[in-house]
């Protein structure tokens, strides 16, 4: 079976659905604004019949879009594919932006209702950013990693460390300690934030070793000098491998970080939506 992106799922079935929904809502809104159900002062807002209709559609959309989180976790549900859900989630999420904007009637203020809309905006925009990441980053990761994987790169690191230890045996102590530090203390693990903020490469012993060896090598002569250069070459290679692993993890971290915004904001949106609905009807 040919690989199918979630964007192209079933020949853009959900893109078509989303476009139809957005167009339908826009046309209905235009008709509503121009003639029917005009409100006092000609202002459109969520409290007209059309406003209630668009609001209901928007609220149902939000609830359904949130259900993706539950669907992803229920592995037993085989009747629908997660890929299809994701495709619909993406396209209908963008359509939600249209529906929600029309629901506001472009009336904003310092209030809960505008806050709810802002949350919709933030969630959908973060979602679009996430889609862009999912489209772009896999290619970037392939560019960075090529045919290697983290495990092969780790094996390469181990190999380089062995070589380095072997060579360093015949060199002054400082070389040895640099090699041991680089092997033991080079930081590859870290939290999402550590990777994003380059905290893992701060004061990296491998980089330090490369830099220090360049200085130390200048004091060596003859055979040790050759070995020193060889060792430095090994450390440069080590640094390149380390940087590739880090870059790989940084890209992975970026793919997780946007979810740190998308998911909590959407939960907050659900609360704001509930408050919005309650507030509208408590002071009807």
């Amino acid at each position: 079976m040919q690989h199918q992106s979630f964007l192209e799922y079933k020949r853009y079935r959900y893109l078509k659905l989303a476009v139809a929904l957005s167009l339908g809502a826009s046309l209905a809104y235009g008709w509503h604004r121009s003639y029917h159900f005009a409100t006092p002062g000609g202002q459109g807002y969520g409290g007209t019949l059309m406003g209630y209709a668009l609001g209901t559609i928007g609220a149902l959309l939000i609830i359904w879009l949130m259900l993706l989180g539950a669907r992803k976790r229920s592995y037993g549900a085989a009747r629908t594919s997660v890929l299809g859900w994701l495709s619909a989630h993406v396209y209908l999420g963008v359509a939600l932006l249209v529906v929600a904007t029309l629901h506001t009637g472009l009336e904003f203020g310092f209030n809960l209702h505008a806050l709810a809309y802002l949350l919709v905006l933030a969630v959908v925009l973060s979602g679009i950013y996430g889609v862009l990441l999912f489209v772009r980053l896999p290619n970037v990761i392939t560019d960075v990693m090529g045919e290697d994987s983290v495990s092969t790169l780790t094996l390469q690191l181990g190999e380089l460390d062995q070589q380095a230890r072997r060579v360093a045996l015949r060199l002054p102590d400082e070389f040895n300690s640099l090699v041991v530090d680089a092997a033991d203390k080079t930081r590859l693990r870290g939290t999402v934030f550590d990777h994003i903020t380059h905290a893992t490469s701060r004061r990296c012993p491998t980089t330090l070793a490369v830099r220090r060896m360049r200085v130390l090598n200048q004091a060596l002569k003859d055979e040790p000098a050759r070995l020193g250069r060889e060792l430095q070459g090994i450390m440069v290679a080590r640094r390149a491998v380390v940087e590739r692993i880090r870059q790989h993890y940084r890209l992975l971290a970026r793919m997780r970080l946007w979810l740190m915004a998308h998911v909590p904001l959407s939960v907050a949106l659900l609360c704001a939506l509930a408050a919005h609905v309650v507030s509208v009807f408590i002071y009807w």
Binding site: A38, G41, L115, H195, A268, A274
Partner: protein, 629 residues
């Protein structure tokens, strides 16, 4: 063509024949890698699919082109010419180039590569443990952030405002939280200082240890109180739009209008303040029947901006009036959906002879007349050549040219015109002089008895001049109170005054072009024995407002000349109704939909919804008879 002999050393350190496996591969190029297509197959995860290639260049020598990391004699290289004795390291494999026959003289280049796995434990299980895990979550997890955000939103946008919404109106002030939360369990002895934290904290320190929890609780409640009373009410955060200007004073008190949660704003909330709003249909019962489903807020929606409450919905009018009988079966109104399309002809409030003192609404026709009870030819007064006047300049033969504004002046509100008054607008020409001997003395415009008194006074004063000897000054102090003056002494003067008065009265009231009958219809009343003759003047019954249901303002039409709408200069009779008909209005005004060169006009451009009196200057009873002289 390259022929390569590969010698694999099974045991890393044994270079004897037992541990050797020889095989030979041949090809134009020799690929090294993990791919099955590679001639030199290197099954190890650290090696790429096609890691490197040994090729024969045009000069016949062998070269190594590397894609993945390759070190030749300890140096990372991507391209190297092969030479005997080189150690080529690819992943875990070290190749030692033992023999080499190449160069342009050789038909087939031959090399021998001895290699060994540097570490035999290149399996994934052993090294897998050392593979660092990917990015992991910090203490800031999605779940925690979601909880914090959701709780913040829920507290600020839902819980606290809802708490506000359900508080009794009076209790929502200072001390409310303490009252609401502390009252059930805290007991009666909780010291509740009116001020905030400091004093309560002092009290907390002085109490016994078992009272500590009590004090802390009191303190925290008072802190919450302090915050809440000094912040605006949180349910105002629900306010969906700007409150109208008139409601600004109650803008922070949602429940001033939203009296009960989950119920729509009831009319009772509006009529609390707006007590004197007229009904749409004058009969209250019909009004209730027609509008049983409607609320004030059906049309007047707040939270729609400063002017939101005032801007009502003309389309709402049409929803009923396009088919008005469906909503009010007994109405006499015609259907109307748009001013330009189907607005019926105006119905004027006219006093007709048949109706007597009552006003009647009559459909305006070109021939419709309304007798006001006096005669006034507009054409004569507006003649271009002017009209004769006692004050007229001699150069024009005593003629003055009058304009509309000579008699009609706008009222204070600049909406309608003041009534024309005899004394202000007519009397400068139509003088009510009595006698040529006193040309400047005029009687006032009024009923016959008033006129008679005025005439008597004029002639009495003239008598003083004419018959001074006949008038005997009587010292009233010498007379008995109540006694008449001796009649014989004043008979001559009295007689004269009475005769002159009656003569002038008859002349004024009965002469066909005399002072009164120029305008009014006058009839002599039935004679009463012993009394002087009396007259009745036909009542003046002009309408002060032809269209009391409209809000027409003259001030807004000041750019047009009067004659644009009112054909007064061709009117010969006061009975002519000089009001323009609806066609004249429609020449400038169109319906709700804009048209080029026309003013878009909706229902509310001319009509109000509530009750009849539209403008204060129209007075209380615009349809009642005017009793102006």
């Amino acid at each position: 063509m390259i022929r390569c002999k590969l010698i694999e050393q099974v045991q890393a350190d044994a270079i004897d024949a037992h541990g050797r496996i020889d095989r030979a591969v041949t090809g134009e190029v020799l690929g090294l890698g993990r791919a099955a297509s590679c001639k030199i197959y290197l099954p190890d995860p650290r090696v790429r699919l096609e890691h490197a290639v040994i090729r024969r260049a045009e000069d016949g020598y062998l070269y190594l082109d590397a894609v993945g990391p390759v070190t030749v004699d300890g140096r990372a290289q991507t391209n190297a010419r092969l030479a005997v004795g080189q150690t080529i390291a690819i992943g875990p494999y070290d190749f030692i180039l033992q023999t080499l026959q190449d160069g342009s003289s050789e038909a087939v280049a031959q090399i021998t590569l001895a290699y060994a796995l540097r570490d035999a434990t290149a399996s994934d299980e052993a090294s897998g443990a050392r593979v660092p895990a990917g990015p992991r979550d910090s203490w800031i997890t999605r779940r925690r952030v979601a909880w914090v955000l959701a709780l913040a939103v829920a507290m600020l946008c839902a819980v606290l405002p809802i708490w506000h919404a359900y508080q009794p109106a009076q209790a929502a002030g200072p001390g409310a939280v303490s009252a609401a939360l502390a009252a059930p369990g805290a007991g009666a002895t909780v010291a509740r200082a009116p001020a905030a934290g400091a004093s309560a904290a002092g009290a907390g320190r002085s109490t016994a240890p078992e009272g500590l929890w009590h004090s802390a609780r009191t303190l925290s409640l008072q802190t919450v109180d302090w915050v809440l009373t000094r912040s605006t009410r949180l349910d105002t955060f629900w306010n969906p739009g700007p409150i109208s200007s008139a409601h600004q004073s109650i803008a922070d008190d949602c429940r001033a209008c939203h009296a009960r949660p989950f119920e729509r704003v009831a009319d009772a909330s509006c009529t609390q303040c707006h007590k004197n709003v007229g009904t749409h249909v004058s009969d209250p019962r019909t009004d209730r029947m027609v509008f049983q489903e409607q609320r004030c807020a059906t049309c007047h929606k707040d939270h729609q901006g400063i002017t939101g409450m005032r801007t009502v919905d003309a389309i709402g009018c049409v929803q009923c009036h396009a088919d008005v009988r469906r909503h009010a079966p007994t109405t006499g109104l015609a259907n109307i959906s748009d001013f330009a399309r189907d607005h019926p002809a105006f119905r004027l409030s006219v006093r007709t002879a048949a109706a007597g003192a009552q006003m009647e609404r009559v459909v305006q026709t070109p021939t419709l007349q309304s007798d006001p009870g006096y005669s006034f030819p507009h054409d004569l007064h507006l003649a271009k050549a002017g009209i004769k006047s006692p004050d007229g300049p001699p150069a024009t033969g005593g003629r003055v040219v009058l304009e509309c504004a000579s008699c009609h002046t706008l009222d204070a509100a600049s909406v309608r015109y003041e009534p024309v008054r005899m004394d202000r607008h007519c009397q400068s020409c139509h003088r009510l002089s009595v006698d040529p001997q006193a040309p400047d003395r005029q009687v006032q415009h009024g009923k016959p008895e008033v006129v008679r008194t005025a005439i008597r006074e004029i002639f009495a004063s003239l008598a003083v001049d004419r018959y001074p000897v006949s008038l005997v000054t009587v010292n009233t102090l010498l007379q008995r109170p109540g006694a008449d003056a001796p009649p014989a002494r004043t008979l001559g003067a009295t007689q004269w005054v009475r005769e002159q008065t009656e003569r002038v009265m008859v002349s004024m009231f009965e002469r066909p072009s005399g002072e009164c009958r120029t305008c009014h219809a006058v009839q002599r009343a039935a004679p009463v024995k012993g009394a002087p003759p009396d007259w009745t003047v036909a009542p003046v019954a002009s309408s002060s407002h032809w269209l009391p249901h409209s809000t027409f303002s003259h001030a807004q039409h000041q750019n047009a000349a009067c004659s644009t709408c009112h054909a007064a200069d061709q009117s010969r009779s006061a009975a002519d109704i000089l009001l323009p008909d609806i066609k004249a209005c429609q020449s400038c005004h169109t319906g709700a939909r804009a048209e080029p060169d026309k003013v878009a006009s909706r229902c509310e451009s001319c009509h109000g919804f509530h009750g009849k009196p539209i403008h204060p200057s129209f007075g209380k009873s615009t349809t009642a008879a005017t009793k102006k002289p």
